[in-house]
Subunit: 380 residues, 2 copies
């Protein structure tokens, strides 16, 4: 794949340390199955996105209706650092160009598409407005159509072209092939924005692959909300990029704002943060297995891909289970300020494992066992 | 990437239509932060996994304790089609070989690891037991160590070698590079099992890439449960593979059993199915936006990567929003058996959009609007 020279010795630009984030939470929330947001909520989300420092905030098209128009004015009036996208700071055009999304005969629709696309882009640029052009269904579109259309919109002055997987059907390999090809053909030499839906669980993998292959902008939503399975989740993507290029990810974005941002959005659209959500899922930094817990206490990097402190989150070594080890219990004993020898800790560990075999234990349960065991010791 | 000849004209085996699924739900649930399963629950999950037709069911090592031993006997006694893995039908060895997971000096630990690995595998094969050998932390391990260790265990007769990303830190590109290299070196020519954790959202993307690059077995858990962020979710993976190679995915696995399987597991470990879970998330096949809804009614493939009916699930076109279109309302009107002209449907659509601007609407709300509008019409 791209990013490093491959077997052919060919290399291509990797943008894993120079990408921009275009967040679509506000736009997708309006289209999504469960919710319509009030203006106050939209403003709160826009502010939280700006605190995280996303580069663009995409909102519902003001042309949709009166409310969307007023909402967009309210958000534009906030004077955020982020560019507000949708007829305010810039305009994004989307045209479905695959045979699936064209009712009329294919050739005919392509001519039409190209005509109107060029016309609109030319007008926007004459008004000094940032113009982005996207295929809605890139990976099922005819390649010749794609390339000629991209060429046309670039010539018309489009600031960015978009590669979209609206159905969530593509894979890292196809993303890599697609971008390498457009690159080799020299068709797209400017900014490339990618929008990946998540129907088959590959959105984040596709996004990092796209950046390695030369894409420059990634569309995200907070918690991945969006129609059907939504798109690239901002949190998972930021974790992926924190590992790929730590300095850029930490320097450009305020990772510690993620949890607050996800809280605002999850409450606004009334969803729970998934138990396995990267970074903020409730067990993301909980360690339970004995050997894991021991290693974590010695060196967190053993089982943590990054330090949760980067996100202002603390790890938790759980001892309320049958697979706990005495090292984990030792650290909890010390946390509680109880005085025990290693042999005593091993003894109480055996007791905890035994009890955990018979019934589920909460952290409180295990703390009680530790306290009463400790009391027994000092009574004796 | 692999699967198709790359720029160098080099091609490698793609196993997207010949993979096997090793499900670790029962093993991971025991290690996970929230729950310990009763024997009855384990048996129920094992049966549900067998109904879906996973190839292997991995369970907690019987050596852990009395209960694990009895549980494994109970599951082995079920006479399932799937192979039960962990000292019953076969044995999986895991050794942490990266510098992170070795306490003693690196070289020394590598000699030790190789010695004991070869010893155990030789013994297992002498007992006619299926033996699998895994690195716990493949992608942070020294390449020379990796290759020589793989070579040694293959020579010792290991049936499968495992490539693990225990920290969830790898990407599709790194997976592709890793497998292409081991292939080219001819080190691994037999079965390759891959286990990808999901800390940075790439587990499914890594899994499909691994299969394209020559891997043969993928580890999954139901709903992706597992320590921290868990690993490749069975549902998302099956959806990914249904798109990649429909005939194999439909022919070999009972996709219609997925929802029941996920229900058993989510209740057993007491978690909610994430709102954006592929296939079974509550809005996975809900369509709301006007243009999307219209297209879906004309041709579902426009915005659906596969037919939900493959999983025994039905789609839902929501009309309870400001962005609904009259085509969607038309289809709901027909579903409800109400008689309206197109103009009348357009009128009631306007009414719905108007109301949705002022307050969130449920499906019941919109049905009420349709019924009363219809009643008005026929009163007049």
């Amino acid at each position: 794949m791209s990013g490093t020279p491959n077997a052919a010795g060919e290399s291509s630009p990797s943008n894993i340390a120079s990408y921009k984030i275009i967040d679509s939470t506000l736009r997708e929330a309006d289209q999504w199955a469960t919710n319509t947001l009030s203006r106050d909520t939209k403003v709160a989300i826009a502010k939280a996105l700006d605190s995280f420092a996303v580069d663009y905030i995409e909102i519902t098209s003001p042309s949709l209706n009166e409310q969307a128009f007023e909402d967009s004015k309210a958000i534009a009036a906030l004077g955020l650092k982020a560019k507000v996208d949708a007829g305010v700071g810039s305009v994004a055009l989307v045209i479905g160009a695959s045979s699936f999304s064209s009712d009329v005969s294919h050739e005919k629709s392509m001519e039409k598409i190209q005509e109107s696309a060029v016309e609109v882009i030319t007008y926007l640029k004459s008004q000094n407005v940032e113009a982005q052009f996207s295929f809605e269904d890139t990976f099922r579109s005819d390649l010749v159509d794609l390339l000629s259309l991209y060429q046309a919109v670039k010539e018309a002055g489009a600031d960015r072209v978009g590669i979209n997987d609206i159905i969530g059907g593509t894979t890292p390999r196809l993303v890599d092939d697609n971008e390498k090809l457009t690159e080799r053909k020299g068709v797209i030499n400017g900014d490339i924005e990618c929008r990946f839906h998540d129907e088959t669980g590959c959105a984040v993998g596709n996004a990092v692959t796209a950046l390695e292959a030369g894409a420059t902008h990634i569309d995200t939503t907070v918690l991945g909300i969006g129609e059907r399975n939504g798109l690239v989740p901002l949190g998972a993507f930021s974790a992926r990029m924190l590992v790929a290029a730590p300095e850029y990810a930490k320097g450009k974005y305020n990772l510690k704002e993620l949890k607050a941002l996800e809280t605002v959005v999850s409450e606004a659209v009334n969803i729970n943060v998934p138990y396995n959500n990267p970074v903020t899922g409730f067990s993301a930094f909980t360690h339970k297995a004995g050997i894991h817990a021991k290693a974590i206490l010695n060196n967190p990097s053993t089982y943590e891909v990054f330090d949760p402190a980067e996100y202002g989150i603390t790890r938790n070594v759980a001892i309320n289970s049958r697979v706990t080890g005495w090292n984990a219990v030792r650290s909890r004993v010390d946390q509680l300020g109880l005085v025990m020898t290693d042999d005593e800790v091993k003894a109480v560990t055996a007791k905890i494992k035994q009890t955990a075999d018979t019934r589920p234990l909460t952290i409180e349960d295990t703390d009680n066992i530790l306290h009463s065991f400790h009391a027994e010791l000092h009574k004796a």
